[in-house]
């Protein structure tokens, strides 16, 4: 189970290839890629800065992975989250889950993303032509994280 918080870009194909090589028994791999969008409420985004809490970020991501492991059968997983200055269409986050079963892989990947959105100490600041402003947490993200509570067992 790997977690990387880094400013450098990553190559999804390469990362998946490594996981496949390390887990020949895993028949199902699911990946999620988060990308800097070009527009926010009709305003063109010129850039984004990602701030984080060094130390706690990694700890929280580890917790998220551990919890996913307890709920589903996961052979291996990878979370990469970038920090620093990014441009529109840049890659922000990658979550890959390898499992023997696709249902476990799909659910674990979605769970990890929902919890990352609400529990991992990152903060985004978006730049537009006129101004810079901090992104606020969305109700949808909180709701998404909450619905997993009912499935915990």
């Amino acid at each position: 189970m790997k977690i990387r918080v880094q400013s450098e870009d990553f190559d999804l194909g390469q990362e998946v290839a490594v996981i496949r090589q390390n887990n020949p028994q895993a028949g199902a791999l699911v990946s999620f890629l988060g990308v800097v969008r070009e527009f926010n409420e009709n305003q063109a985004i010129t850039g984004m800065t990602l701030e984080h809490y060094p130390g706690m970020t990694e700890k929280q991501l580890e917790k998220i992975v551990l919890e996913a492991k307890q709920r589903w059968q996961i052979d291996d997983s990878l979370i990469i989250h970038r920090i620093g200055k990014l441009l529109p269409n840049d890659q922000i986050v990658l979550v890959v889950v390898a499992s023997a079963h696709r249902q476990d892989a799909f659910l674990a990947c979605e769970f990890m993303m929902d919890f990352l959105k609400t529990q991992a100490p990152f903060w985004k600041k978006e730049q537009t032509a006129d101004c810079e402003q901090w992104v606020t947490m969305k109700q949808d993200d909180e709701a998404a994280a909450k619905r997993w509570k009912n499935t915990a067992d």
Partner: protein, 84 residues
């Protein structure tokens, strides 16, 4: 002494990212710390005033108002997270 860390929009509003200080003996919980910090002035009152917009971590674990604060703790104050 404890270390206080401020992040993101809060850091900008307070113009402060980190400070180390001794807390008065009557400040023993997160809630009491927030009340004490708000007394620093209107800027602090406004930045820390709304509970919905503030999260606290003590020693890099999410905390709640009742969480106790001890010597040498690292206490971080930040807005709701927006990663991913």
């Amino acid at each position: 002494m404890v270390t206080l860390l401020y992040f993101a929009r809060l850091r900008e509003a307070l113009n402060l990212n980190e400070e180390r200080l001794s807390l008065p003996t009557q400040v023993q919980t997160v809630a009491q710390l927030l009340d004490w910090l708000k007394q620093r002035g209107p800027n602090w009152q406004e930045a820390l005033g709304s509970n919905k917009l503030i999260r606290i971590a003590v020693n890099q674990e999410m905390a709640n108002p009742e969480t106790r604060i001890n010597e040498d703790d690292e206490i971080a104050i930040f807005p709701p997270v927006t990663g991913g």
